[in-house]
Subunit: 427 residues, 3 copies
């Protein structure tokens, strides 16, 4: 009974037109041109590498896209069980009429050619959006992105701030900031002014959020300009920062961002928990891991200091989900946000979704985002999430709590569509 | 099949008369007088606040109870999904004949008035206990509670010791201790004597446990009187303690409590993991959160030093449950105790119950306590627990291990009733 | 439907002949002689002790085996719910024709005598292996084990290195090392040479892995000989090491082991997370617990430094499983390995298996090992694992992803048999 119920609920959720509130889409080349754009996604390259394909085979300079796909296909058998490969097969079935259940050395070339032809159709981007029922796709723009040449209603800008917070000591980052804003970073107040100009620029172009990914060791804190000033001067003089100074610089910039989020009524997406470059010889974007020993208690001061800033929070480790649920249950300004990266597999999505739906106000949950680099990925990723969501709604609400199907469906629609639309709406 | 099985088991468990081994009931006013006593429970105020209701609306001085309920009802729609609101609806259905599935701005006034009339009946307290099948309700009494004027067989005293352990440095706490015991805290031996008198007083009035809630950073340790003495003198002289001194004071008092638990054969309920006042502007009792990075290894010395003291342990974070299971599996003096606060939602209860029933001796598990402030809450909270318990017994024991229904029911009865009765029995 | 599916898959998995890639079998006495050998397993003694049986009753010097079993049986009722007791009953049913569902004070004597007679049959060892469908059993040999007098194709040697890494400062350990290798540990290069000779000896006798269990605080690191040299000299002079020196010694030896694993193409089994002797008065082997606050980030340098060493990793705490999955998903040299000790109960096996099958390349997962001390345990332990595995394959692959039964069964066969065979094969 519960299986049929879940199917009914799923059917209703599938009719929903979606907003994807966090992606890495390049709005100037949102869709793929060959299967290599899809299989070059780090999920496939890193899994193939993990299963034994040498990095040199994957990242050979000048490698032909078709040859690259051919090499990756050789390893697909080893990855066959992964949910990521199920996305790949589902994309190929949905977009290219692929009828197999596996992509193998025997069938990939035909598939590759079919896909290339399909992707060459002039309206491919629109086809993908339509078939995926995607209305809006949020971007993650570098802070010096001019945000020009694309439809910012379809592709919604968001200000990514990792470089400013964690790499301001790099001369290239400061130069990019000066160039983007026309402000010379002579002192702290100039730095603050420059950051403020980024917010002006981004909000004027329709930005809906400021976003950052954060290592597990970081704790935001208020830092006085007088404490930051000598550190900024040290950067400018070319002296290498101590690790304490590096932390203070990060805290200063981070707190400044929160202040501007408050001023501009912009949600501040926090993606908490990633350690960068843990596997130094990994493939591109396949080097990052984490230390699950992180707590939202590290964000205590921040959450208290900015009651009027909405913080949609993503956590990397499933073990952090209960804290996220509890903090969202208590703090008005904390919103649960999607299922990130290493937690973006059904087993964790299911447990995390159950906890959120059981204990966080329904208006404070952003169900899902795809985190995609190419448009084609939204379809299988949202499909995976919707299946889990439908199952949880059937089991925990209709069966366990006696809700009507309609009521359960309405809850699903809210977390899938209603909430991201409302939470990221400009005031 | 498994759904029907779970129903059969549930029916049997529902016939059980209960002991509620941890509550915050005021024995002089155990039941509610209006719906505001129920909806004023921090679960509803904090969730409504989290969903956007200003604290000033909830905690306005002199606010009329009915007006307060009306304001909270405005936000109930946003909390509709939470298990806490399902408790509220179930209470209203069971106690006040409420027939809706939601409490809304359209139906709450009638419900409020019905409830008020019902609660005004002279035997309301008895009605609630009877309808809830509740035989005994354990209290959590401040250490200076005279424990007079109530039936201590129905409302069983327990000695709450948070203030002594964590706030002895506050003059008011020491004054209360002196006043309650007639002992002037001139030195450490006087302090120990005073604490001993609390145990005399409490056990003479039928107390069944000593209880404390503990932050994640605390590690119990034995402290010499000679180390504590200057710290006590510093308190008495009015000097503010260093944080190291504060820790030593907490450890000294905590260890002294354990010694008296040993002497008086009193179980020592440890509720591990809460950080107080994390959200400083939260509503009353809606400010506490946690850092899930805590380990029972911090209790290693304590558990080794007091083999004859039973420690019923509650953990706040679900991620601590496996340690709790493992420590209860190894240490004879560790007992698993209920599902506390942020872990008291079905998704965590289910996983935690499975682990406990699979690996901890069945005689060492206290299934559930309500933690309630008003009597009406035991009914929906125990009902939630029983449903999860019945499902776990059906799935993991009858289906997966081929047990008979009778055998599974007996296991359920033991953790629900037999164990709390035996573990907290006076010797 | 899903229940029937799981049964079909289970039937197929049950036909598989197994390799057990991690046990503590003594190859000179692999099978039990009386029920006391089985019930003397620490799982039963520690649980009975935890439930109240005094250690003195269990470990009384000169205690008759039958008397010991009789005493333990008195407590079995309290442990009836545990999965460990279900193993015991299943062993008795499978091997000794026991027909009860519980072992009680009424039926144990007959069972004991039947078992003793059965175990006295000259081919008992072969009977157990055949009935359990066990082809190969990996050992965990002390480093100075001569590895003689047994069939090393059936009982495969593995080099256990706990003593070398964590107890080199003990004179007895260094003496054993000198004696086993004929190398006097005059300096660091002699120490390295001696360790190298262990690898020569073990690999010449067919060893398939180097193995170690590690406390949660340990972080491997490269240490120069020049840093280790004075510490080794301090040991030799009889001076007690500081805790920093102890750590450096452990790191030096550990890193040296990894180097020899690389040289000899030997997998290095890491069993991460155990704290030894936490419960000091516990029964034999029932004293160890853990601190779940451990991260694989501590192994970052090791995993980067030895890309050609395969590290099958076991974690003690379920909360570490997601990190293990993620590290195995990224690092080519990380393999997930079984379900260890406190995580070896169905609730954790199920969640951990789901995560691994959803996100780790299928070729990089060693499904299960028994960790047994006596041969009879492989049967119920692998049976438990297979039941969970069959359920996960049915639910997550056949039902949720539309796989055929055959495809799901092939995945199960790979993690149960194909992978351990291939991963531990000598090059």
């Amino acid at each position: 009974m519960s299986v049929q119920l879940a199917k009914n609920i799923l059917t209703e959720l599938e009719s929903l037109v979606l907003i994807d509130p966090h992606t890495h889409i390049n709005p100037h080349a949102p869709a793929s041109e060959t299967l290599a754009d899809i299989m070059g996604y780090h999920y496939y390259t890193e899994l193939a590498h993990s299963a034994g394909l040498p990095k040199s085979q994957i990242e050979e300079p000048g490698l032909d896209p078709k040859e690259k796909v051919g090499r990756l296909v050789e390893k697909l058998g080893d990855l066959d069980n992964t949910i990521q490969v199920s996305w790949l097969v589902e994309m190929c079935q949905e977009f290219f009429g692929f009828e197999g259940e596996r992509i193998t050395t025997d069938n990939w070339e035909k598939l590759y050619d079919t896909a290339t032809a399909k992707m060459a159709e002039p309206d491919w981007e629109d086809q993908v959006l339509k078939h995926s029922k995607l209305e809006q796709v949020y971007l993650t723009n570098e802070f010096d992105d001019p945000l020009e040449g694309f439809d910012s209603n379809r592709y919604v800008p968001c200000l990514r701030t990792d470089d400013l917070v964690f790499h301001l000591a790099k001369p290239t980052v400061r130069e990019r900031l000066s160039k983007a804003t026309g402000v010379e970073l002579s002192d702290c107040s100039a730095l603050v002014k420059a950051i403020g100009q980024l917010f002006e620029h981004f909000t004027s172009r329709g930005a809906r959020a400021c976003a950052i990914s954060i290592p597990p060791t970081f704790s935001p804190a208020a830092v006085d300009s007088s404490t930051m000033e000598p550190i900024l001067q040290a950067m400018q003089s070319g002296r290498e920062l101590t690790s304490d100074e590096q932390v203070i610089s990060s805290q200063f910039v981070f707190w400044t961002l929160a202040q501007f989020c408050s001023e501009h009524k912009l949600p501040f997406d926090l993606m908490i928990g990633v350690n960068r470059r843990v596997y130094e010889d990994g493939v591109f974007q396949g080097q990052d891991l984490y230390d699950s020993r992180v707590s939202l208690i590290q964000y205590r001061d921040l959450l208290n200091a900015f009651p009027d800033v909405t913080f949609p929070i993503s956590v990397l480790a499933a073990t952090s989900n209960q804290e996220l649920v509890s903090y969202a249950w208590i703090f008005p300004n904390v919103v649960t946000n999607g299922h990130w990266w290493y937690s973006n597999i059904p087993v964790h999505i299911e447990q995390d979704t159950k906890a959120r739906l059981q204990a966080v106000p329904q208006t404070k949950q952003i169900g899902y985002y795809s985190d995609m680099y190419k448009l084609e990925f939204a379809l299988p990723k949202f499909a995976m999430y919707r299946r889990v969501l439908a199952k949880v709604l059937a089991d925990d609400f209709v069966v366990a709590r006696g809700w009507s199907e309609e009521r359960a469906i309405a809850l699903g629609q809210l977390v899938l569509r209603g909430n991201p639309e409302r939470i990221f709406a400009r005031p």
